[in-house]
Symmetry: C2
Subunit: 478 residues, 2 copies
């Protein structure tokens, strides 16, 4: 199935329907929103036997991974339904009047939250369920009371259409305005730009490449009325491993890490791309074990031929950098069709810090070992990276000055800091933070995964001396 | 006293000191932060007899207003101290591990908040205490754990220096790194641009004109690493008054509203600039009473000659718009020196909606009455404005369809909706929201007044499987 670019007129009609539905959806009850979210989860599960093979054909990710991803997507929809029922989007601060002169005295203020309005949601290629049509951005925006217009990803057009048709059916069956959910299709950049520029679009959620995200953010910023752009742009996810933990558990950790680097052919925004090791024999042995494990791995095909070409270009950039050596050399460009072999390179902290091109993500099954002479130098590597969705610290279990220095540097660099395990796999839960400093995301104060993702689509309004009838409605004039 | 522009080298040195202090201040305890905030409040009060006359000389705002503003500023500093002691910046979500396979099973996550780093704070001219050197932006950023570099406003350089010297003295007396508080001075645009572009600046807080704020936001967005720009850019603060309330209380409301329009010579970001009235004899009588009250008012001089010139240009823009008539004509440009006479104009909803130039703020003692034929048309006026710090609705006390429609439109337009009183006067409290949709502010999801202002300078970090020692520190490796 080929994707047909929607015309400007088609996009305008889709946005107009969303704008027409916005007041109704903003005023919808918790029960109405939860019913839609649960209905979408059920419909997704009911269509599993159709959708998973479709997704596999278009993505090569395999039925095991795709079934798990569909489960996660349904779990996420139901999770947001539960949060809506618990009252999250309707939470308010009741600040009663205080008698007396200002500054201590003040009128009654009821601080509530207002849905932003229609949200443009740009699907990712690498999660055809969980970060696509009915993924976390869609679920959280709907939960917040915002209509959603999905910009489908051209890497999986048939799955996109099938999922969108299913969603539209649930919206209709529940008697909701059709504009609560819309779909825009197009491979051309102009399609996304037209959508972001539409005056009725109130916010953008985006998961994808740095280049695409930064360009669309510039469009959002340049509108006559700029709108928030929640971009999750990927990252290089450094793993810092201290010698003691490598001495104790090196072989097992090497196997685990190789699995994380090659999982889904390295096509995760949380795929570990930089391994920071301190000079020590245990680190040398760990690199040997990691190289062996990667050398044995045979990842499946990448999502698209374009991604394979980008991967080849990325490892070529490493090869062209003085001071970077291969431990596991990549195959020649294009070898293996869309399925590359993994690559592992080694460099020094000084070279890494001095070479900004090495801070860019290489999307695919490749990692760069960075050797540091001291904890300070390891921390400096994190500071040079500046922004990442995750930092993993192995061996910070004891409270010492080096642990504290590394934790501080990691917290300054990342949205999530792991003290065991690997960064691939992002739990959908209350404590999650999937969003770190630039360039890993455009709004590090927000998360695109977990229940707090809903907060992106609500802004506070203070009601001063609200009349009794409005207080009785919790400040929501439905 | 004249203001001397700081050189790039001076600015770099000030930012470097802030960057050097950032880790220490981020790791400071609640007691340390609260002591600084309380110490600043005490120092401010102790220097009242010096600072208030200095402020009056530079601003013309008068001792009564300036003493009240100093009280408010000290109250604000102490209020943030109390919030820090209550643990606000150290609040965390503890999300224990759930056994089992994903998506339901997940590792332990401790979601904490991380100070952003050095904040550049641009003072406003119209609040020489409360939105200047030790105002709400400074207090909330310090409370969050961020060093602050104040960009002083050139309209009150002597007060700026005196207040900054006092702050530096408190920082030194408490044994804190000098870089916790810094000052940059300069009237040239290049000074502010250099500050915002400095790589070590992590966020910008700005209160001022739309033009200046939008320009600096573009600079923040264009950095190699963009940073959040929290701009409070002023607004036109529509007041919608329904006929029944005007029939009952018209004369008193006219006096109150005239007082709000002319308070501090109209130099408030919450000064009411548009009065939306429905066609009705009670509205006609209200306009008569408002015109009479404004005609009698004699505001004091504006803050600067440039502001007087801008006011003259703003009312000239109204005069040049077909369909706008004077009810109280302004004085000729420059009449009265820096002290203008108030102005009141009248137009129709259709003219207002069709004329974007009328949606721009006229900073000073002027208001534009907009006549609407219906509630729908009044709501359309609010929609045309699009973004305002406040909307005031008089007469929405009963629950009817018109009240609901107006409340909905007001909540979509404003950060604060008032149901009685006037928008000037912004309580510093938990329920406050001072920040509305563009163009009134650049981040409508944040507030620059009230305790929630601290949230701007913190971002979440999820600690996955945090070791016991770090959990024991509440996820803050001090």
């Amino acid at each position: 199935m080929n994707l047909t670019d929607h015309t400007s007129a088609q996009i305008d009609a889709t946005v107009a329907a969303a704008a027409a539905a916005a007041d109704t959806w903003a005023a919808s009850s918790a029960a109405t929103r939860a019913a839609l979210l649960r209905g979408l989860a059920e419909a997704l599960e009911a269509a599993r036997d159709t959708l998973v093979p479709l997704a596999d054909r278009e993505s090569h990710l395999g039925p095991a991974r795709l079934n798990g991803e569909l489960d996660r997507t349904a779990f996420q929809l139901r999770g947001f339904a539960t949060r809506v029922e618990a009252g999250d989007p309707f939470a308010h601060t009741d600040d009663p009047a205080v008698a007396g002169a200002p500054p201590a005295g003040h009128p009654a203020l009821l601080r509530v939250r207002q849905p932003l309005g229609p949200v443009a949601m740009f699907s990712a290629s690498n999660f055809p369920f969980a970060f696509s049509v009915l993924g976390g951005d869609t679920a959280s925006a709907l939960a917040a009371g915002c209509p959603v217009i999905v910009k489908g990803h051209p890497a999986h057009p048939a799955l996109t259409r099938a999922t969108a048709a299913l969603a539209a059916g649930v919206v209709q069956a529940q008697g909701l305005p059709a504009g609560v959910f819309g779909l825009v299709e197009g491979a051309a950049v102009a399609v996304g730009v037209h959508l972001v520029q539409h005056p009725a679009i109130a916010a953008v959620a985006f998961t994808g490449s740095f280049r695409g995200g930064a360009a669309l953010q510039a469009v959002a910023n340049a509108r006559p009325r700029p709108i928030p752009f929640f971009g999750e742009l990927g990252s290089i996810n450094p793993v810092v491993a201290r010698p003691a933990v490598l001495a104790a558990q090196g072989p097992a950790l090497a196997t685990t890490l190789a699995g994380s680097i090659t999982l889904s052919c390295g096509q995760f925004c949380t795929s570990p791309g930089v391994i920071v090791l301190l000079d020590d024999p245990a680190s040398d042995r760990f690199v040997d074990a990691l190289a062996a494990a990667l050398g044995d791995a045979r990842p499946h095909a990448m999502l698209t031929p374009g991604m394979r070409a980008n991967f080849d270009a990325g490892v070529a950039r490493w090869a062209a950098t003085p001071g970077v050596q291969w431990r596991v050399a990549p195959g020649a460009p294009g070898t293996g069709g869309d399925a590359p072999t993994p690559a592992l390179a080694v460099t020094t902290a000084a070279t890494f810090i001095a070479t900004p091109a090495l801070h860019d993500e290489v999307f695919g099954p490749a990692a760069l070992v960075v050797r540091a002479a001291s904890t300070d130098e390891a921390a400096a590597v994190l500071q040079a990276i500046g922004g990442s969705l995750t930092v993993t610290l192995w061996g910070a279990d004891t409270d010492d000055a080096d642990s504290r220095a590394l934790v501080r540097a990691a917290m300054q660099t990342a949205g999530r800091v792991l003290f065991s395990g690997v960064p691939t796999g992002v739990a959908v839960t209350a404590g999650q933070q999937h969003g770190g400093p630039w360039p890993s995301s455009t709004r590090a104060e927000t998360t695109s995964v977990g229940w707090a993702a809903m907060d992106r689509f609500l802004r506070p309004v203070a009601l001063q001396d609200a009349p009794a009838w409005l207080q009785g409605l919790g400040g929501q004039p439905c």
